[in-house]
């Protein structure tokens, strides 16, 4: 008898569905995944908690709901990458999270304490510092009304000042994504593991795992999720892929032997005043102008302020910030959760951009047992079996690969969630998010099983541009599904195993 009960327990113990709940307030990611066997929750998993420009006001209702659902016990927390819109909830509400128990936290290998990861963080840290300094200096120009005086005589002075301020403001917003400002101890740059200790999420009993692409968690390595497998897709170990943010045709360059440094290092050296190394001065001192003050220098310094170039070089921070944002997005921990029996997959790529997506197809292979037989599987197989897709990078044009991503999502039961919300968003992103082609394609593929974090009435017009078609039946399904959650701080759906 006892034996039979045990056997019965074992079969029901297998997870056969999951409820995915997305928290909404602004653009950013916060998910609660409740893995269930029948109606029993076997595992509470959180993925990220953040929102652009988010504060306590946004997060408290979420945390209250998560607490209600989980009793404050999170079996696994997944932290995809270090951007504020994925982790600032932990910072601003660390007091509330202090009452939680996080049993295990998953990071990407980039937060590990090994040479590659430390090297990457060091490189990132000097760019981040340069960005920080440049952004502060540019904001100083706004405060000092520098451009108001430089442009005072210009016919279109007001618009010209506005254009500069718009740029600086957009840059500041982009820079505000960089949250990890722990001071660098000698040599090594602190990782998010330290940051999450600071946030009081990781405590002594918390188990920390840094995952690498190619990892496969199942059975004994995944005791929380019986009946499931977790495939680790990204971020790539080849760090040069981290800088690859966009697709350029069908084929892509290999960057073997490439310098690992960003082209902005000379900029970083100047902006942070780092005189060590060869980056600082381009010429030998003998060529410098002595104390004599010939015509050219005098002319530059006296009058004609409108032609001066003292501050223009700081605007390089704009392209650096965008590149840097992309490479941090590419450090996203990309995971595929699979039901062992049905082989159905839930895909959570974080904010992975193209280089990360591409790396999944660069030789990643796993052996799994299907119907008692060993079977070699790869990223294409996982994408083919995807029934739930958390849309990458808030529906930007490069947050979901086309040929190597969405095109391979061919399962008829596909559903998608879009963590995009115009309530809180970088103003610059409004020009590119949502990408109409991507969203229209996904709405068609999911046949309307498409969930918005934001107000669909606000977002849909940006999807339905002249170059796409959204079927009326799909839109009706979409509206029905989303409508139920109109006044809620979350929106959810259940995925069958």
């Amino acid at each position: 008898m006892a034996k039979a009960t045990k056997a019965a327990k074992k079969t029901t113990a297998k997870i056969n569905k999951v409820r995915v709940r997305m928290y909404r307030a602004g653009t950013g990611d916060c998910f609660l995944l409740q893995f269930k066997a029948g109606n029993t929750v076997k595992c509470n998993m959180m993925i990220d908690c953040g929102c652009i420009l988010g504060g306590k006001k946004e997060f408290e209702p979420w945390i209250k709901d998560i607490k209600k659902e989980t009793k404050g016990i999170i079996d696994i927390l997944v932290v995809t990458h270090e951007h504020a819109d994925h982790i600032n909830g932990f910072k601003s509400c660390s007091a509330l999270y202090d009452a939680f128990t996080f049993k295990k936290v998953w990071f990407a290998w980039t937060e590990d304490d090994d040479d590659t990861a430390n090297d990457l963080r060091r490189n990132h840290s000097s760019l981040k510092m340069a960005l920080q300094v440049a952004t502060t200096q540019l904001n100083g120009l706004v405060t000092d009304k520098y451009y108001d005086s430089i442009f005072a005589d210009e016919f279109q002075s007001a618009l010209m000042v506005e254009a500069k301020e718009h740029f600086i403001n957009s840059l500041s917003q982009l820079n505000s994504l960089n949250l990890n400002d722990l001071p660098a101890a000698s040599g090594n740059v602190p990782s998010m593991v330290e940051l999450f200790r600071e946030f009081k999420v990781i405590k002594d009993h918390t188990e920390v795992e840094c995952l690498s692409p190619g990892d496969l968690l199942k059975g004994p390595t995944l005791p929380e999720l019986p009946g499931m497998r977790v495939f680790v897709l990204g971020p790539p170990k080849d760090t040069s892929l981290l800088d690859l943010t966009e697709e350029e045709g069908e084929n892509f360059e290999k960057r073997e032997h490439a310098s690992s440094r960003d082209i902005a290092f000379a900029f970083a050296a100047a902006v942070t005043g780092n005189t060590i190394g060869t980056d600082f001065l381009p010429f030998e001192a003998e060529y410098e102008l002595g104390n004599e003050s010939p015509g050219v220098k005098k002319e530059y310094e006296q009058g004609n302020d409108w032609r001066k170039i003292d501050m223009d070089w700081l605007f390089t921070a704009g392209s650096l910030a965008l590149r840097y944002e992309g490479s941090i997005n590419n450090t996203s921990l990309a995971l595929a959760f699979q039901f062992e029996e049905s082989e159905r997959v839930l895909l959570f790529p974080g904010d992975a951009e193209f280089g990360n997506w591409k790396s999944w197809h660069d030789g990643l292979e796993w052996t799994v047992k299907v119907d008692g037989k060993n079977k070699k599987v790869d990223a294409t197989y996982l994408l083919n079996n995807t029934v739930f897709y958390k849309i990458g990078h808030h529906c930007s044009h490069n947050g979901s690969a086309a040929r190597l991503g969405v095109d391979l999502m061919t399962h008829e039961d596909l559903a998608a969630m879009a963590p995009l919300n115009f309530n809180k968003i970088q103003t610059g992103w409004l020009n590119t998010m949502p990408n109409d082609l991507l969203c229209a394609k996904l709405i068609a593929k999911t046949k309307g099983k498409f969930f918005f974090s934001g107000d669909r009435d606000q977002i849909m017009p940006n999807i339905k541009t002249d170059r796409v078609t959204v079927k009326k039946t799909h839109e009706a399904t979409l509206n029905d599904l989303n409508k139920k959650f109109d006044d809620q701080v979350f929106i959810d759906c259940e995925v069958e195993g």
């Binding site: 506005e162 082209i263 902005a264 010939p294 530059y300 170039i309 392209s319 020009n431």
Partner: protein, 678 residues
């Protein structure tokens, strides 16, 4: 007494420093630029057109300005090419920018003027005579005045970025430098400092931006996907065809390609060092081919006819125009050398194995250089036949064909067909023509019924302008004279009315003139969203005389044209609304409730016949309706196009351009800093 030398010889790179490090190109890469001798060239160099200011704000360092009149420097044709000597950098930017300016001037037939600085005019003061003293133009409410800009500033070390740009605000070129990040360390030393101011192509490109801005200020306004792309393309075209003016480079490449310039060669490539330093396998841009990143093999680019419809990012889109022009060049070149090849091969046309005979190389090079010169001239001349706003590639094709047909009656070498064919193969068709032919692409002489008398009076006035301007050589005086003829001269006792006032008086309320220009001159301008102007004592619709030029050109048959080119511009604020039947309608409103729709027209007057020869218009009004004597209404098609483009701008630019808002406040910020950012 020794005569002053006609040229100053300055050594420099034909391409950029990277080619001096390769055995097969080192010899041809070091060339001597021959630029006009400037008598009063000051250290900097600072001359008539340019002032080079070598201040590096990133490290707050000044570098000593080079004095090209220094005896030792002058005696050895300038300083040695060197990446590590900033004084050579100054010499290089000066030499290439001056070469570009001179090439432009010889094609354009008039001195290059930089775009004026537009500043706020002081509040209107009553001159005491009860009459308003009006020498400034006005648009809407704010008065503006134009300040002459004598020299373009060049800052060779202004930024630390893989970027270089022309700043319309500062009338300056800003060059950047950065540490190279090659895709493969065998291509270039990693972290090698790469200076954009040492690249011929980049300097010529940026200088052309400045020259083009001096001709058409509104071409920096991003009103359709072609405008900025045109700016980029034109700058590339000038840089490319300048390669053909270096005789040794040309002969070397003719020999290397055995006369087939459609195969991989240095002439069709732009900014090679820069491209590799940015991490690609070849040049930043290549007019005839590119590298397959997987096989790393160069392959020629085949147009598939879809590019123009699909490619929207300004540089990539500009590349379509560049490749069309280069394609036309190749077609013409092939036709021109066909007989040479037959002569050299006993009629077979099939070249024997081995190196070409040097006489043949010289003759082929001469043909290539001549053809390149013709094509570049055709492109530059075409600028006078473009509409002053909202240009697209089709307009440019029509301008090329019209300008050429105007000067060259007999197109016996089918140059025009070559251009049309190259554009057609890329799917670039002008709008508003019923079929594609040389005749339909050539703008025809407009109907001026009922206006002939006014036009005759106006042209007589323009003859006065011609008589004045022909003898003025000083650029500042040219600028002031142009302004005076546009705005009039009220300072002297016998005041003269300017072109602006004459146009308002002569053509006020003239539907015929409206049909011609597409601009609004009727009294109901307020209804159509056009502001009111009181300029020059006339109350009426606000419009702008954007430019005034005299062009005298000599054709191949010795024929001479004698034309004055006037460009007009007018802005209406309009809104789009659906009417009761659900059809979109456009109507005038104000700046708060609508968006700006700018119309413009280029009028070309023939001073010999006293007639209006061409009217090339981007209309505000629906001209088709006017021609049919239908209702006077705003041009729905243009309003729709502008509004659609502004709405969907995010899709047409790079992520950087979209995020930082290139299209917001279009033309106001630093459009080229945006475009050139990687």
């Amino acid at each position: 007494m020794t005569k002053k030398p006609p040229f100053r010889k300055l050594r420099g790179y034909a391409f950029d420093p990277s080619l001096s490090l390769k055995v097969d190109t080192a010899l041809i890469n070091n060339i001597t630029y021959k630029i006009p001798w400037e008598e009063n060239l000051e250290p900097g160099p600072k001359g008539e057109y340019l002032e080079v200011i070598d201040y590096d704000p990133t490290v707050k360092k000044w570098y000593a300005p080079v004095n090209l009149n220094d005896l030792y420097i002058a005696a050895q044709d300038g300083l040695d090419p060197s990446g590590s000597n900033p004084q050579f950098h100054q010499q290089m930017v000066y030499a290439v920018a001056m070469t570009t300016i001179k090439n432009f001037e010889s094609a354009l037939g008039r001195p290059v003027l930089w775009s004026p600085r537009i500043v706020k005019a002081p509040p209107r003061a009553n001159s005491g005579r009860g009459k308003k003293k009006d020498t400034e133009e006005e648009t809407q409410d704010v008065r503006q005045t134009y300040h002459y800009v004598h020299t373009l500033r060049i800052y060779p070390h202004a930024i630390r970025d893989a970027n270089a740009y022309y700043s319309p605000q500062k009338k300056a070129l800003l060059f950047g430098y950065f540490s190279a990040r090659p895709a493969d360390i065998t291509l270039q030393m990693p972290d090698n400092l790469t200076f954009s101011c040492l690249s011929h192509d980049i300097i010529a490109h940026e200088t052309t931006h400045a020259i083009l801005d001096g001709l058409y200020r509104k071409f920096t306004e991003n009103t359709n996907p072609d405008v900025l792309a045109f700016h980029e393309a034109f700058s590339d075209i000038v840089a490319l065809f300048q390669h053909f003016t270096f005789p040794d480079v040309l002969k070397n490449q003719i020999a290397a390609t055995r006369g087939d310039l459609a195969s991989q060669n240095l002439l069709g490539k732009l900014a090679q060092e820069f491209g590799i330093a940015m991490g690609s396998y070849g040049a930043l841009r290549d007019a005839i081919g590119d590298f397959n990143p997987v096989t790393r093999q160069w392959k020629p680019k085949e147009p598939n006819g879809d590019e123009y419809r699909k490619v929207m990012e300004p540089h990539a889109r500009g590349a379509i125009l560049v490749s069309a022009i280069f394609d036309a060049f190749l077609t013409i070149y092939k036709v021109r050398v066909a007989d040479l090849l037959r002569i050299a091969t006993n009629g077979t046309g099939i070249l024997p194995q081995g190196e070409l005979q040097s006489d043949l190389v010289n003759r082929l090079a001469a043909e290539a250089s001549k053809t390149a010169g013709h094509v570049l001239r055709m492109c530059i001349r075409a600028l006078d036949f473009c509409p002053p706003v909202d240009i697209n590639f089709g307009d440019f094709l029509r301008a090329i064909i019209t300008a050429d047909a105007d000067l060259v009656a007999d197109d016996n070498r089918d140059y025009r067909i070559a251009f049309i064919d190259a554009f057609r193969r890329r799917g670039i068709y002008p709008t508003g023509i019923k079929n594609l032919s040389v005749e339909s692409l050539t703008h025809s002489e407009p109907k001026t019924e009922g206006m002939d008398e006014q036009i005759r009076i106006l042209t007589t006035f323009l003859r006065e302008y011609r008589d004045k301007i022909t003898y003025i050589k000083k650029r500042e005086e040219i600028f002031n004279t142009n302004r005076k003829f546009i705005a009039g001269d009220y300072s002297s006792a016998d005041k003269t009315y300017g072109l602006h006032r004459r146009l308002s008086v002569k053509f006020g309320n003239s539907t015929a003139f409206e049909t011609l220009t597409g601009l609004i001159f009727g009294n109901d301008y307020g209804k159509h969203g056009v502001g009111e102007s009181h300029a020059y004592g006339v109350t009426g619709p606000s419009f702008q005389v954007h430019s005034l030029h005299y062009a005298s050109r000599v054709g191949p048959d010795g024929n001479q044209t004698n034309q004055v080119i006037v460009t007009l511009m007018q802005t209406a604020f309009v809104k789009l609304e659906k009417d009761k039947k659900g059809k979109l309608q456009v109507s005038g409103t104000d700046s708060k409730n609508g968006f700006a729709l700018t119309g413009g027209c280029t009028l070309i007057f023939d001073l010999d016949t006293l007639r209006l020869k061409y009217a090339i218009s981007k209309p505000l009004l629906d001209v088709d309706e006017l021609k049919k004597k239908g209702p006077r209404q705003l041009n729905l098609g243009r309003a729709l196009q502008v509004s659609k483009y502004t709405r969907e701008k995010g899709h047409t630019v790079s992520a950087y351009q979209a995020y930082f808002g290139l299209t917001k406040l279009s033309g106001i910020g630093e459009p080229f800093a945006f475009l050139h950012t990687h």
